[in-house]
Amino acid sequence: MTDWMGMSAAPRTPPAGLKARVLARAGAAGAPPRWPLALAAGLALAAAGFAWWGRVEALRVADVQGRLTQMAAAYRDTLSLLRSPGTRVIQIPVSTNGQAGAVTIFADTMSHRWLVTCHHLAPNQPGQVYQLWFITTTGMASAAVIAEAGNVPMVKELEMPKGAGTVVGAAMSIEPGAGSSAPTGPMVFHYML
C-alpha cells in the first residue's frame, strides 16, 4: 500500500511562524466550493437583468417606431394634400387683440379636405376659445375648436361637413367655454371662397 509511503519519511519540526503563515494563506483562499455558486447566481441575475433590460428596450423601441410610423403617415398625408392638383391656398390676415396674424387654408377639392394653419393668434382669454366654422349653403357648421394660441403655429386637418350644404366659405369667432353650436361671439374673420 504505497498510500502510506509518505509516512516513511522522517518527520521534521515545522519552523516557528509557518503555521500562522499557512493558516493566513488558507484564510485568504476563502471557500472556493462556494464561489462557483455565487458566480452562477451572479450570472443568472445578470442574465435576468439583461433580459428585463432587453424587454424594456424592445418595448420602448417598438413604441418609438409606432409613433414614428404614425408621424410619417401623417406627414405623407399632409404632403399628398399639399401636392394635390385640386388644392387651393387661401391666406387670410387676421388681427386678434391687436396682434397681427394669419390663417392659411389649403383646400383640396378632390379629397374634400382642408388643412388649416393659424399663425400668431393672440392667446385666448380665460373661458374663451377660437372656433373655426364652415360657411355652407345651409348655414354655419362647426369645423374645429382651437383652445390654444400663441407664437406656435397650429395645424388642423378638417373633413368637409357631412349632411350640410356645399361649403362656400370659412369663418372664425371667439366663443365661450368649449365652443358653441352656432357663432355667438366676435368674428375674427369671415371669408367667402
Partner: protein, 196 residues
C-alpha cells in the same frame, strides 16, 4: 516518552466534516497533527527547508479549499494529504529544474535507505506509530524492492528511469515494484486509523 494514542475513524470523519464546514480550528488541528509529516515528505523529495516549507503551505491551502474532493471510500485522510504533499514537492522539483542536482544529492544522502536523522523525537510527533509501522514494512522488503519504491515515490522516477538509474532491466523493475507494492499493502492492511 508519551504514549501514543489512536485517532479513531470517527474522529477523522468529524475533522473532515468540520473542514467541509469551513471550521478554521479543524484546519489548525490538522496542521498540528500532520505538518511534521507533510514537511518530512516535502523535505525528503526536495532536500531544501525553504522549498519544503513552501510545499507545506500549498498542501494545507489545497486541503482547505479541496476537502470536498477527498473520497473517504478510497482511503483515509492522511495518505490523501501526504500524496498531495508528494505531488506538490515533485512538481516543484521539476518546475525549478533542479532535478538532476537534487536527485543526485538525495541519492548520495539516502542511498535508498530511509533517513531518520531529522527526526525531532519519536513519540513527541503525532503519527509516530504509523511511521514505525511503515518503516517496518519497508525494512522487511528486499533492498532492491525498497529502492525501487523509494525512487518512485520520493523522486518521482518512472519505471524506465529507475531501470536506467539502477542499471536494471525494465521488466525486472516492474516485477520488483509490483511485488513490493503487494507486500507493502499486505503488511499495512491493518492501518486504517492514523495514530497520534
Amino acid at each position: 516518552m508519551t504514549q501514543p494514542k489512536r485517532l479513531s475513524e470517527d474522529r477523522e470523519r468529524d475533522l473532515i466534516r468540520r473542514l467541509v464546514d469551513r471550521d478554521e480550528q479543524a484546519l489548525s488541528e490538522l496542521y498540528d497533527h500532520l505538518a511534521p509529516w507533510v514537511l518530512g515528505v516535502a523535505y525528503r523529495v526536495l532536500g531544501d527547508d525553504d522549498e519544503a516549507g513552501e510545499v507545506v503551505g500549498d498542501v494545507f491551502v489545497q486541503v482547505w479549499t479541496k476537502i470536498r474532493q477527498h473520497d473517504a471510500a478510497r482511503g483515509p485522510l492522511v495518505p490523501w494529504v501526504l500524496s498531495i504533499a508528494r505531488n506538490r514537492a515533485l512538481d516543484l522539483l521539476r518546475r525549478r529544474r533542479r532535478w538532476h542536482r537534487k536527485a543526485e544529492r538525495l541519492r548520495l544522502e539516502h542511498r535508498g535507505e530511509v533517513d531518520e536523522t531529522a527526526t525531532p523525537g519519536e513519540a513527541s510527533v503525532p503519527g509516530w506509530p504509523v511511521h514505525q509501522e511503515v518503516h517496518r514494512a519497508l525494512a522487511a522488503l528486499p533492498a532492491e524492492q525498497r529502492e525501487a519504491l523509494t525512487l518512485a515515490y520520493f523522486e518521482g522516477l518512472s519505471q524506465s528511469e529507475i531501470a536506467t538509474r539502477t542499471g536494471t532491466p525494465l521488466g525486472t523493475v516492474k516485477t520488483r515494484m509490483r511485488v513490493a507494492q503487494q507486500k507493502l499493502a499486505e503488511a499495512l492492511r491493518h492501518v486504517r486509523d492514523w495514530m497520534v
